[in-house]
């Protein structure tokens, strides 16, 4: 192994295709390399599957699935090495991700198996070209960048697909967590729980205005006790929501305003006297009922109108 560190080209790192003579040579080496990988396809694929099992990856898959997918990945891998085109691979990787994510396959497994394949193929190249060290190096110069790009492409496609799924789930959760509750005739409560971001604020407005229409609400109580903090954009949005609700004939009471959020609104130039705000939900509800003309009877028999 000491020879390796003394090899001049190795010490500088792999030669890149910036050098025209290198590029020309790699053009001849790649087909050689691909031919080798195709020739030994069955053997190498099986070796790879063995390694996957040893590493306890893809345990969510049946044997048949494993056989089918590893064959596809292997063939795609070799094809990318041959053509240099990642498009087909991207397509396959996305397709694969769509299939396996619902089955619970994790990112580390996908990255793991691609790297294992890379290792298996590399070793096979070591074995084949061990007698000609300088040729081996040149073969690796051709192989490594391509292999790394493949690993990268598959991993990124997988992660992108996962993120897309997560976003979908988040949307569903958001919808659930901004329910508009018809509490009494003409009175809606909108409790906001959790972080209020721009997207959620947009959904909130849409759901609220639709709710005002559906339930013919005259008063809406928006309780933001459960929202930890609200940035300027979102505060702005809240104010717009209040104004839009008014244009639909409903008055809005905001409850649960923390001092921080109140300050944000004031800094925004919002005239807090224009918006009804109450300390807590209870107070907000009482005010709402007052506006709707309900008589509120207290336990001691006293009434307020």
């Amino acid at each position: 192994m000491s020879e390796m560190s003394q090899n001049p080209s190795r010490a500088d790192g792999p030669r890149t295709t910036d050098d025209p003579t290198v590029a020309a040579e790699q053009e001849q080496l790649l087909p050689q390399l691909v031919a080798h990988l195709r020739e030994h396809r069955s053997k190498l694929r099986e070796e790879w599957v063995g390694r996957i099992r040893d590493a306890h990856l893809l345990e969510a898959m049946t044997q048949q699935e494993m056989a089918a997918e590893t064959t596809s990945v292997y063939d795609n891998y070799v094809e990318v090495l041959e053509t240099g085109s990642v498009e087909a691979l991207q397509h396959y990787a996305r397709d694969l991700s769509e299939r396996i994510i619902p089955r619970g396959v994790e990112t580390h497994e996908v990255v793991g198996i691609v790297l294992l394949l890379r290792d298996v193929l590399a070793r096979s190249l070591f074995e084949k070209y061990q007698r000609d060290f300088s040729l081996l190096n040149r073969i690796l110069d051709a192989y490594e960048p391509a292999a790394n790009r493949i690993a990268n492409t598959v991993a990124v496609s997988f992660v992108d697909e996962r993120e897309r799924v997560i976003r979908q789930q988040q949307d569903a959760i958001r919808e659930l967590s901004t329910p508009v509750l018809p509490v009494r005739e003409r009175l809606l409560i909108l409790p906001i729980i959790g972080v209020l971001d721009s997207e959620r604020a947009r959904q909130l407005t849409e759901q609220l205005l639709a709710g005002i229409r559906t339930h013919r609400a005259k008063v809406v109580v928006i309780d933001i006790t459960g929202a930890p903090d609200v940035d300027t954009t979102v505060a702005n949005h809240l104010v717009q929501t209040v104004d839009a609700s008014r244009l639909m004939g409903a008055s809005v009471i905001i409850t649960g305003l923390s001092p921080t959020i109140a300050q944000t609104l004031v800094d925004l130039g919002v005239d807090l006297s224009k918006i009804h705000t109450m300390g807590d939900l209870q107070g907000g509800l009482e005010e709402a009922e007052r506006q709707l003309g309900y008589h509120v009877t207290r336990k001691d028999g006293a009434t307020t109108t």
């Binding site: 897309r164 976003r167 979908q168 949307d171 849409e206």
Partner: protein, 137 residues
């Protein structure tokens, strides 16, 4: 491009057409609410300016596609007298009667991107775009 829609703006009946075409395209492209209304409103303002201040022009609606989002671009052109002071026109002078009443600052607030190019005596081109993130369609 086959998907482009061109609306000639000559009189105030054309404003109705422009609003309807904009809404139709926005909905076709899958913009979530309230975007189609925002786009139609912005176009109404710009188209009216053309009728009132320039004596005629046209509006082109262009669907756009980017890496991970879709968009609708509006290009409004006229060969009118041009806007002398674009910066002033873009300022908020809405106090009662409103500055020049051009509705430009309002339209700008409704859209994601907004640009005005104007030359006195040569006319005005207003380009505005609304984007829609892929995940929202």
């Amino acid at each position: 491009m086959a998907d482009e829609v061109r609306v000639v703006i000559a009189d105030d009946a054309d404003l109705v057409t422009a609003r309807a075409e904009a809404r139709a395209m926005a909905e076709r492209l899958g913009f979530p609410r309230p975007d189609p209304t925002l786009i139609a409103t912005a176009i109404s303002e710009i188209a009216r300016n053309i009728v009132v201040h320039s004596g005629g022009g046209e509006i082109v609606l262009k669907p756009l596609e980017d890496a991970n989002r879709y968009g609708l671009m509006v290009i409004a052109t006229d060969a009118g007298p041009g806007i002398r002071d674009v910066e002033a026109a873009l300022r908020d002078d809405y106090s009662g009667r409103g500055g020049l009443g051009l509705g430009l600052p309002g339209a700008r607030r409704l859209m994601d991107e907004f640009a005005v190019v104007s030359q006195t005596g040569r006319g005005t081109t207003i380009t505005m775009t609304m984007w829609c993130k892929e995940g929202q369609r």
